[in-house]
């Protein structure tokens, strides 16, 4: 049984049909890179999977359990899904009024109701994992972009998600800070975590993903192994997209 099963997912913003019937199965341990031009619906697809956006049509099934019924979702149900599906954002979305460790502890304390000491210990562990043990008491305003994103990753990891969604995690970073974030994500990949990653880093997708999906006009245009999609694309639009990414090097 797939960890995540998506059928006929559609989403529209006003007159703009962003997603047109996405079918997708994610097996535990898969690492899927989602590529596509801006406006192709990559981020919206990701945001529909943890219901940051409500799909207009289609079903999302997590561990065999369908979420929502006839397009209606209960708050409690969505809260439960979001605890199992972690998300890392392009703009980090750290809480500026809390220190780094406060950010990581927040979900543990408020959502999982862990006692302070247990939450603190767990948060320290996650900060150490992303190499920021020494920044625990620093406020986000005093962290670099790369450090902020690593705190955001630690914050998501602390909730023990079964599936991690990365929404262009390095797109807002200065080029010299991209590497430190990708290193952290690669380490998570090596642990065998299940993840969906919207990215423009084709080289990273090639080396880390187990499957690559190319989106165009809100539909899956082409998908396959990184080698198939990135080195031997069969469709014209995929080829053109890859050719435009000149920085792509293997």
């Amino acid at each position: 049984m797939s960890l995540l099963r998506v059928r006929g997912l559609a989403k529209r913003f006003g007159a703009n049909q962003v997603l047109r019937g996405i079918d997708l199965d994610v097996e535990a341990g898969e690492r899927i890179a989602i590529l596509g031009a801006s406006g192709s619906g990559k981020s919206t697809l990701l945001r529909c999977l943890n219901f940051m956006e409500m799909p207009d049509q289609g079903t999302v099934t997590l561990d065999g359990k369908a979420i929502g019924r006839n397009g209606k979702y209960r708050d409690g149900e969505l809260i439960a899904v979001r605890q199992r599906v972690g998300m890392v954002f392009q703009q980090f979305n750290l809480f500026p009024h809390m220190t780094a460790i406060g950010n990581v502890m927040e979900g543990l304390r408020t959502v999982k109701r862990l006692p302070r000491q247990a939450a603190h210990a767990r948060a320290e562990k996650e900060l150490a994992r992303v190499g920021l043990a020494d920044k625990a008491d620093t406020y986000p305003a005093h962290l670099s972009g790369g450090q902020k994103q690593r705190v955001a990753i630690a914050r998501a990891l602390a909730m023990d998600p079964e599936l991690l969604l990365f929404d262009e995690p390095t797109s807002a970073l200065d080029p010299e800070l991209v590497g430190e974030v990708l290193t952290v994500i690669r380490a998570l990949a090596e642990e065998g975590r299940t993840m969906l990653l919207v990215t423009h880093e084709l080289g990273f997708a090639y080396h880390v993903a187990t499957r690559v999906i190319f989106l165009a006009d809100g539909a899956i245009h082409e998908q396959g192994t990184p080698d198939e999609v990135l080195k031997h694309p069969t469709k014209e639009r995929t080829r053109a997209f890859i050719a435009r990414h000149k920085e792509f090097s293997l």
Binding site: M52, F95, P96, T110
Partner: protein
Amino acid sequence: MKWDFASVFANWDALLAGAAGTLRIFAICLVLGLSLGLVVGLGRYARHSWAYWPATSFVEFFRNTPVLVQILWFYFALPILAPFEISPLAAAALGISLNSAAFSAEIYRGGIQSIEPGQWDGARALGMSWAQAMRRIILPQALKRMTPALTNRAIEIFKMSTLASAVAYVELLQQGKLIASINYNPIEAYTAVAVIFFVFLWPLVQFTYLLERRLRRDE
């Protein structure tokens, strides 16, 4: 003419009672006004119509009628419609609190709306409910931004307390009026009242500057 403050000083006990009355009604209206304002402001922010419409009607009604009229209405009209007496303090506190709630509700709503949507995303992605996200993530940041506007509101409430004199509640202005009418010294009596207000409010305003500076520090 000659200024003669001796007749004012002679009535220092009356002014003291007035100051106590002013502080009492200020404290009541500050707590009631700002806390009720938060509830109404959340109602204005909410998308559910059962919360939005009552909150919006409340704000529109109390923003568009004068506080003085509200106080007089509570004091003179309400007891005719309802089977109970209402004290001058209750009538004045009710008028000033409800009016302040309406104005501060708009401050709360604006402050909450000024928080970028990414903060909601970050909170919801962790599995927080609307109420948890509001309490832990949105309000603490919004309150910081609202501090200047809310402290202004507090100063307004302090000054609005003089309207309670319209229903003969014992506060500073009421006592000033009393002293002036007994001693025929309106210049000195009202000057004394103004000076006492200044002495109370000036440190309060300085304190709000200090507060604003401190709040900006960790940004």
